[in-house]
Amino acid sequence: MASSIEIHPITFPPEVLARIAPDLSIQRHLSLGVRPCLRQFEEFRNIEISDGGLSRSTDLFHNSEENNILGSNVLRSGKTIVITSITGGFVEELLPVHGIDEGEEELRNMTMQHDRISQFGAVYPVVEVERGRMGAPTDEEMNLSQKIYNCILGSGVIPKSSLNVSVGRRTTNPDKSVSITYPDEEGPELDQQFLPKRKWSYVLYAKIQVFSRDGPLFELCWNSLIYALKNTKLPRAFVDEKTTDLKIPVRVRGRSAAIRETYDIICDSHKSIPLVLNSKNVGFASNFGVIDLDPEARLPEKEDEMQVDQEDSILLADLQGEAEESSVLSTLSIISDEKGNLKHLGIIGGGSKVTTETIRRSILLSSKRSEDLSTKN
């Protein structure tokens, strides 16, 4: 016996629909002229930044000897919080024992000129995204770290020269008082003889922690890192006069070799110099997505309404939320400065047609965004 089955249409509240059918949800929103996050198509999220009072240069710490954070930034964009802290280390440059002669120096400089990357310093980032699980870094975290590393090095934000340590000298005066002198403060009077004949440079590490992940992260992490680098202060470093040029003969496996003692290079707890960035290479990042409108997903329009001609693909700025991230597959990631000088451009085709027009438009928007972000401090 056949009985008739009645089918009731089911309706979902918007947040449930966004979860079970993100593509439908986003299409419905877009056809109404807004995005699921209720922003305009080309509207960015506002960004709040502060240095978070984390670094040792803030007044709170009185330059204590324990805090080793050189620069920091806390960036909030919507619900997402990015905390960046910059720490440092020293690496000693390997120089021949007897110093470099001039010809060799010249040769080195010549080869250096051809190698663009070697003129810039790097930051070694570790990105961690809180997701409520323990264990090894996820693919996303590894990709983010690597991409940030590549972009910092490639865009040349930090000139290598600003990482060179200008080593001071600690002297104990006859009256037992201790004074520290730095070559650039003393001027040419300081006897060059007593300066250490070794070279160190700073190494910068960045730890980037993300809470409340809500959409693509590269741009947020990058911007946070740039802000943090801008307020990074490198501590002045010195060696004790007794050890300025110490050679201790050490017998290694029967052969006697002159090995310099690895004595400590110590940092001044009070004095620091700001990290000099290559300001013309500093850019801020923004991302865009391109999505094709699906005419079938549109809400049925009333008969009397005029059929509006809509473009079939839309450019979205600053992707946010699960729905946008999972259904917008064509993305552009741009780092540029306020004048539109590109530092990085990544385009993923992903289904929708990315036209030259779209690319031009997003570069324009990103330079405007960059202009806005560079005024914050």
């Binding site: 978070g52 009072g53 984390l54 709170l60 710490f61 009185h62 330059n63 204590s64 000897e65 324990e66 805090n67 080793n68 954070i69 050189l70 920091s72 619900k79 919080i81 905390i83 802290s85 720490t87 440092g88 280390g89 020293f90 690496v91 000693e92 790097a122 070694y124 980032p125 570790v126 809180e130 997701r131 409520g132 699980r133 323990m134 090894a136 870094p137 590894m142 770290s145 690597q146 590393y149 190494v203 590490y205 730890k207 922690q209 809470f211 409340s212 992940r213 809500d214 501590p235 400590d264 290079i265 110590i266 940092c267 001044d268 707890s269």
Partner: protein
């Protein structure tokens, strides 16, 4: 440590960490006095949107703004666990230093073990069979009294942070657990100070233990009432 970590970008292997010259003695002296001062707290719940509940605590000395402890706690769960059937929820607590790393791993694990034991007594685990509750403590900043890093100084903040995050997550707890510290001893109470759920004494004299516990209890009352006041003001 023969195998290098290839999942993270570690930087040059011959790099050495920055070492600071010790400060003058006199700039340190004032600080030891501050140990037992009252703390002022800033609380905000629900900062981490993709967790089930979270709390953010900023603890400062009440007479100044020095030595803030910033702690972000997030709770994930109750969520289903894989594997065998459990009649009670299993609780894990992880501790991470978000910015500078000052504590050795072993000490942090000991701290987590201690905290897990406290909250095993406080959370109604029998109410969540087949589930896991995972708590993540993120220490954003901390500088202990006299500039050194001690676990005693952050323990009360950890306990308060977890309690608030559990409340934010809507997980059933028997009582608002909180803790007080005095001279490096941390005691965690429930039931209006009737019961002790955690006792941590690393250093100092044992003679006056009972007295110390009383001192901790006073701080516990203060901490608890602060938390309750915050929750009542911000109830939905």
């Amino acid at each position: 440590m023969s195998v290098s970590d290839r999942r993270r970008i570690l930087g040059p292997t011959n790099a050495r960490p920055i070492q600071f010259a010790p400060l003058n003695e006199d700039s340190k002296k004032i600080d030891t006095e501050r140990k037992n001062l009252n703390k002022s707290v800033f609380i905000e719940n629900g900062l981490v949107s993709n967790s089930n509940g979270s709390s953010y605590l900023e603890t400062r000395d009440s007479n100044g703004i020095e030595y803030p402890t910033l702690l972000l706690t997030s709770v994930y769960g109750p969520r289903p666990t894989r594997g065998s059937f459990n009649s009670k929820a299993s609780l894990t607590i992880q501790f991470k230093e978000v910015t500078a790393e000052n504590f050795p791993t072993g000490e942090l694990k000991e701290l987590c073990n201690f905290l897990t034991n406290i909250f095993n007594a406080v959370i109604n685990l029998a109410g969540y069979p087949k589930s896991g509750i995972d708590i993540f403590l993120n220490l954003i900043q901390h500088e202990g009294p006299s500039g050194e890093y001690s676990r005693e100084a952050i323990l009360p903040t950890c306990i308060n942070g977890i309690t608030l995050a559990l409340v934010d997550a809507g997980i059933e707890i028997f009582d608002m657990v909180s803790a007080g510290s005095y001279n490096g001893t941390v005691v965690s109470f429930t039931k209006n100070g009737e019961e002790i759920v955690g006792l941590w004494k690393d250093t100092g004299d044992v003679e006056d233990l009972v007295e110390t516990i009383e001192k901790c209890k006073e701080q516990y009352y203060q901490n608890r009432s602060t938390m309750i006041k915050y929750l009542m003001q911000n109830k939905k």
